[in-house]
């Protein structure tokens, strides 16, 4: 669950955030992944997030996007030991070492096995494999971000050129599938990354 959408210049006060979550969590008792995400237009104070997490036991994990590692550290200081945190790939090495127990990343939409392999390497303390797979994930992330900052555009481009299920029809408006020239540029760049899982899929799609 995201924090209040910061539409049209709305930046909530602490009291407004508390009132919002009190209303939602008094009705929704299902397990919640609580998302701190800069794309809402603001980052709530650590103390506010900690207070909400302590108050509502249905919050089972805190997802951290677009915040520095000190945000996780400060939250850990305020929350009971063992609190679950999920972090983004670019922050994951530090985040995992600090105690995060989950990693999320949109790149896994087309390289899920690489993602799995990265986490397996971490769990097996295989630093060499971890460093290889982390680099694959980051290279992929850095490349596709040219079509960002939001994900649907490059995701659907990747799905299309790699002929993944559902890739044929593209994103919904307001997003538009770029023209063939740009798709070709995307294809060439993606293949140049030489990520094994992409190569396998590209071969299947007749690209290599």
């Amino acid at each position: 669950m995201y924090t209040l959408a910061g539409w049209h210049g709305m930046k909530p006060t602490d009291e407004e955030l508390f009132a919002y979550f009190d209303e939602v969590f008094s009705k929704i008792k299902h397990p919640i992944a609580f998302a701190v995400n800069h794309s809402m237009g603001y980052i709530p104070k650590v103390s506010v997030v900690a207070k909400i997490c302590k108050k509502y036991s249905q919050i089972v994990t805190v997802k951290l996007t677009g915040v520095p590692d000190t945000y996780q550290i400060d939250l850990m200081d305020l929350l009971p030991q063992g609190q679950s945190f999920h972090v983004l790939v670019p922050a994951s090495v530090t985040g995992l070492l600090l105690g995060a127990d989950g990693v999320f990343g949109s790149e896994s939409n087309f390289i899920p096995n690489t993602f799995r392999s990265y986490l397996d390497a971490y769990l097996n303390n295989n630093q060499a494999q971890m460093s290889i797979t982390y680099a694959h994930l980051r290279r992929c992330g850095q490349f596709v971000n040219k079509w960002g900052p939001s994900n649907p555009r490059w995701l659907k481009m990747g799905m299309k050129i790699l002929k993944l299920p559902g890739g044929e029809w593209g994103p919904r408006s307001p997003y538009k599938m770029p023209d063939q020239n740009e798709l070709n540029k995307f294809t060439e760049g993606l293949l140049k990354l030489n990520i094994p899982e992409i190569n396998v899929q590209a071969k299947k799609a007749g690209l290599l």
Binding site: W7, H8, M10, E16, S173
Partner: protein, 316 residues
């Protein structure tokens, strides 16, 4: 007859139970008619449009048209939307209610959506092909990103129904770039801040949030400017700027301080307060806000305060 249009994105008034307070809305709008200011109804910010159902938006537009049409410009400012389809539905609703023009924002940049030029072009073409009524095109970066001046100009040149460009949140240089690229006469509405410059550069209208509380001060500023009495106009401008600076800590969503001021000054609808997700601050903060507001010593605020039974602080 004033050549410069003054427009305000007006607040929506609510009852204590959260419903729309129609009698208060009518009285609130009458203040703009009396001060000869045009209104934008149901804005996503000041009009709390994102909290209004379609039926409530219809009510806000209908009341606004009834009170203002034929007296001052009455435009709609539908809350920004993510898709052209949704925007067309909202805009058509406003047109059907009889507003004179409808504001059009760019694609709402929600969840990091930053449109490509192609995506923006398709969005605008879809809307401006469907809606032929007069349009106020907003360059407002509040949607999450800045639209290129060339895109704004191109749309103005291509679609004759665009009657106004709203230039809130962009620079003077942006205004000049747009102005230089548009090939036909069109209205340019700019914010009050630095308006002495932009008016001299060719802006033909002013947009002001603060006019929700001090509409007559805005009117006075423009009247003095149009008479060429720049010394007195600057004095009034300073009052407005002091007001802007004072309320800034309760921004960036201005509706918080608008509803606080409406409450402490006992303006129509002030008692009903604000809709969630905003919350009216505690009494202590309201008192602090009121005391600071009165210390500004702005004649129109003083007049409102006296009418509300408040005691003015000793001046000087």
């Amino acid at each position: 007859m004033s050549k410069i249009t003054l427009m305000c994105r007006v607040a929506t008034t609510f009852l204590k139970d959260g419903g729309i307070d129609e009698p208060a809305q009518r009285k609130f709008l009458q203040r703009f008619v009396d001060a000869n200011l045009g209104v934008y109804l149901g804005s996503g910010g000041q009009g709390e449009g994102h909290t209004l159902s379609k039926d409530e938006l219809r009510a806000v537009y209908t009341i606004g048209v009834d009170v203002c049409k034929g007296k001052v410009p009455v435009f709609a400012n539908p809350p920004e939307q993510y898709t052209a389809k949704s925007n067309i539905e909202h805009m058509q609703l406003a047109v059907d209610c009889g507003v004179e023009a409808v504001n059009l924002y760019a694609i709402a940049g929600w969840h990091s959506m930053r449109p490509t030029e192609l995506e923006l072009q398709v969005y605008y073409d879809t809307i401006l092909t469907a809606i032929k009524s007069p349009i106020a095109l907003a360059a407002q970066p509040l949607v999450g990103y800045t639209i290129k001046p060339s895109m704004i100009a191109q749309l103005c040149n291509k679609y004759p129904q665009v009657v106004t460009v709203n230039l809130t949140g962009v620079s003077e240089a942006y205004f000049l770039q747009v102005k230089d690229l548009i090939k036909r006469p069109i209205r340019f509405d700019v914010p009050i801040t630095s308006s002495m410059h932009t008016l001299m550069l060719g802006a033909t209208g002013l947009l002001g949030t603060e006019a929700n509380i001090i509409p007559k001060t805005y009117r006075s500023y423009i009247d003095l400017y149009e008479k060429g009495n720049l010394i007195e106009a600057n004095k009034v401008y300073a009052q407005i700027r002091r007001y802007i600076d004072y309320t800034a800590p309760w921004n960036p969503g201005p509706i918080r301080w608008i509803k606080m001021a409406m409450k402490v000054l006992n303006l129509p609808g002030g008692e009903g307060g604000i809709r969630e997700p905003y919350q009216m601050p505690a009494t202590e903060e309201l008192n602090r806000f009121r005391d600071g507001l009165l210390k500004l010593n702005i004649p129109e605020i003083n007049e409102l305060a006296l009418a509300a039974g408040l005691k003015l602080p000793p001046s000087g």
